[in-house]
């Protein structure tokens, strides 16, 4: 369609056109307001229902062993989530960053595009299928793939989360590595510095902020994932367990299980755990974004 076709014809219907324009603009504003209102309602619901249950005990105690009541806490889940995300980061961060370095520094354009495509495909896989994958690979089979035997564990769960984090870390790192100005690399080569030194001393430090951002966003995503843990790290005791070869509790699973119960005390625990989780996720993502802005400004670049 020719861009100017309509506007040239328009003459007598000016009032109507303006009205339509108003309505359209109003709709767009309304849509944005709607999304923000939904976010506000979610945060408010979680906050107002959860905050009442948050006290010191909530963070340092385990679930109560008395079926008919007694206040419990989510300490095992907090520690478990920390372990899970720690393991996931330990796997996904180096793999993701190295993948990105390969694509930006070594690979040809077509191979780079291929790898990006595969990562996007991985990113699109349903997380529950990734959970089943890790279950059949590391939990069910007797092949001790991860060196931990065939049972559920924080390592298995962390591995599943790492599969989810990997494309996020790799893709975001690729983006920042692309932002590193080529003349930095060239200047380094001109000084006779080898490629690996250039990557380690010039490219990576320059993009440090961006990598941190990408990782933080991926951590925020992984911390809230439930489905991959259902089959890989769900059979867990009620105590704080720092051993990553054991199966541990986690915050998302705690919320999931408590959410369906009939017990008001467990509901409140679910809301409180959700509040902690949402706070963590929102604060980390916001910080990550601010970091990204800062590192972009530092590079003197705008997207």
């Amino acid at each position: 369609m020719e861009p100017g076709a309509i506007s040239l014809r328009a003459s007598g219907r000016g009032r109507r056109r303006l009205l339509v324009n108003r309505v359209a603009e109003g709709t767009a504003v309304l849509a944005a307001v709607l999304a923000i209102v939904v976010l506000a309602i979610v945060i408010w619901s979680v906050g107002s229902r959860g905050i009442g249950a948050i006290n010191l005990d909530f963070f340092v105690k385990g679930p109560s062993s008395d079926f008919f009541g007694g206040d419990g806490g989510i300490a095992p889940a907090l520690v478990g989530s920390l372990l899970l995300v720690g393991v996931a980061t330990l796997i996904a961060l180096p793999t993701g960053v190295l993948t990105a370095i390969f694509v930006s520094e070594f690979a040809s354009v077509s191979i780079g595009r291929q790898i990006r495509l595969w990562l996007d495909v991985l990113n699109g896989f349903p997380s529950i299928v990734i959970g089943i994958f890790v279950f059949t690979l590391a939990v069910k089979t007797k092949v001790p793939v991860l060196g931990i035997g065939h049972h559920q564990s924080a390592v298995a769960g962390g591995f599943a989360l790492a599969v989810i984090m990997l494309p996020l870390v790799a893709r975001s790192t690729m983006e920042v590595l692309r932002l590193v100005p080529n003349h930095l690399r060239e200047a380094s080569y001109a000084l006779g510095v080898s490629k690996w030194q250039t990557v380690l001393r010039v490219v990576l430090p320059t993009s440090f902020g961006g990598i941190l951002t990408g990782t933080t966003l991926a951590v925020a995503r992984a911390a809230g994932e439930t489905a991959p843990l259902l089959f890989t790290c769900a059979i867990a005791g009620q105590i704080v367990d720092w051993n990553p070869t054991h199966s541990v509790q986690s915050i998302p699973l705690t919320i999931y299980l408590d959410s369906e119960s009939a017990d008001p005390a467990l509901h409140q625990q679910a809301w409180a755990a959700a509040f902690v989780l949402i706070l963590f996720v929102l604060v980390t993502s916001l910080t990550a974004r601010l970091l990204l802005e800062r590192s972009r400004k530092k590079l003197g670049l705008q997207r």
């Binding site: 369609m1 709607l34 923000i36 991985l122 489905a227 959700a274």
Partner: protein, 329 residues
């Protein structure tokens, strides 16, 4: 820019000026390591497909493609009879329903952020909407059970039912809080930030000369959007919607929390239903026979293929579109 270069420059004299053996090893090592990592990413994708296909194989042998259109899911019948039809329908209905709602809203948000909002408003509102994407699905599900579902059941469903009850999908006898309808709303909320942020990027990418030209010719902003902005990135918008769809197809937790976990699916959206991902979340861990496990993994395979195809298609459209845009500009 040059000043910045100095800020990260290499201290003179600390680095060797000639290519040494160490450097060659270093280069090789770095190349090897990074290539290994890149291959690992690809391998994971292949491994997932292999493990899932392998696990599904016993069920594929028994049920063949009929699995897709048979609707009985019964562990007891003839040693286990499994058909995915109603679960596939449940997945398709919930995700396409969510897409129908989220697509217009997301496009409108994208337009607001790219065309209407002043730069001062744009950044914070964009960030807030992105925050919606960061809320974990289990939290949305929890909220879905206790806030959204009662609201739907008490206020939204009766209203729609009263007006549109003659259409079968809004008909039936609304009697419960766990409904397909609520699942659709939950998925809508989860897909809006994905689709809208891609739309925003697309619309911002439309060359401003085109927009200014249109305005200069006397078009209103709406006409400019309708005739210039949206048509020039139509493919991208479609891809953005499909990417949102991909997310909705695979969501297990938030859906299982609100949908009621029941097949055969009722005809009305105000009844209960179930989806493939939700059934996996419910039954995989406690499956009682090998055949049931295989059938569930077959289900995972179907889900994998569907999400793979949708995402792949969307990526291809985005790529082609990016190529056209950069090639044409």
């Amino acid at each position: 820019m040059l000043a910045r270069v100095e800020a990260v420059s290499i201290p003179a004299g600390t680095l060797p000026r000639t290519r040494k053996v160490g450097d060659r090893i270093g280069d090789g090592l770095l190349y090897g390591l990074t290539a290994l990592a890149a291959i690992l990413g690809v391998l994971v994708v292949l491994a997932i497909i292999w493990r899932v296909a392998d696990g599904a194989w016993p069920a594929i042998k028994i049920f063949k493609l009929g699995f897709l259109w048979h609707n009985v899911w019964n562990v007891n019948l003839n040693g286990g009879t499994f058909g995915a039809r109603d679960l596939i329908i449940g997945t398709v209905v919930t995700s396409f329903g969510a897409m129908l709602l989220s697509a217009p809203i997301s496009i409108a948000i994208g337009l607001f952020l790219s065309e209407l909002a002043s730069p001062a408003v744009r950044a914070p509102i964009g960030t807030l909407i992105d925050m919606l994407a960061a809320v974990p699905s289990v939290v949305i599900g929890l909220w879905g059970i206790y806030v959204l579902a009662p609201f739907d059941a008490n206020h939204v469903a009766p209203g729609i039912h009263a007006v549109l009850g003659w259409i079968p999908i809004f008909g039936g006898d609304p009697h419960t809080e766990s409904t397909v309808f609520t699942a659709i709303i939950v998925l809508t909320i989860m897909t809006i930030p994905i689709t809208s942020s891609i739309c925003r990027e697309l619309f911002i990418g439309v060359p401003s000369e085109l927009e200014e030209g249109s305005i200069g010719l006397g078009a209103t902003r709406w006409e400019m959007v309708k005739t210039v902005v949206v048509p020039s990135v139509r493919g991208g918008v479609v891809a953005a919607i499909i990417l949102g769809l991909g997310r909705a197809l695979g969501e297990a937790i938030a859906v299982t929390q609100v949908i009621g976990n029941f097949i055969p699916m009722e005809r009305s959206l105000f009844g209960s239903g179930d989806t493939m991902a939700s059934r996996l979340a419910n039954q995989y861990q406690g499956a009682s026979t090998d055949r049931q496990i295989a059938a569930l993994i077959y289900l995972a395979l179907v889900l994998l293929v569907i999400t793979f195809v949708t995402n792949f298609a969307a990526q291809r459209i985005v790529k082609r579109f990016e190529f056209q845009r950069t090639g044409g500009a």
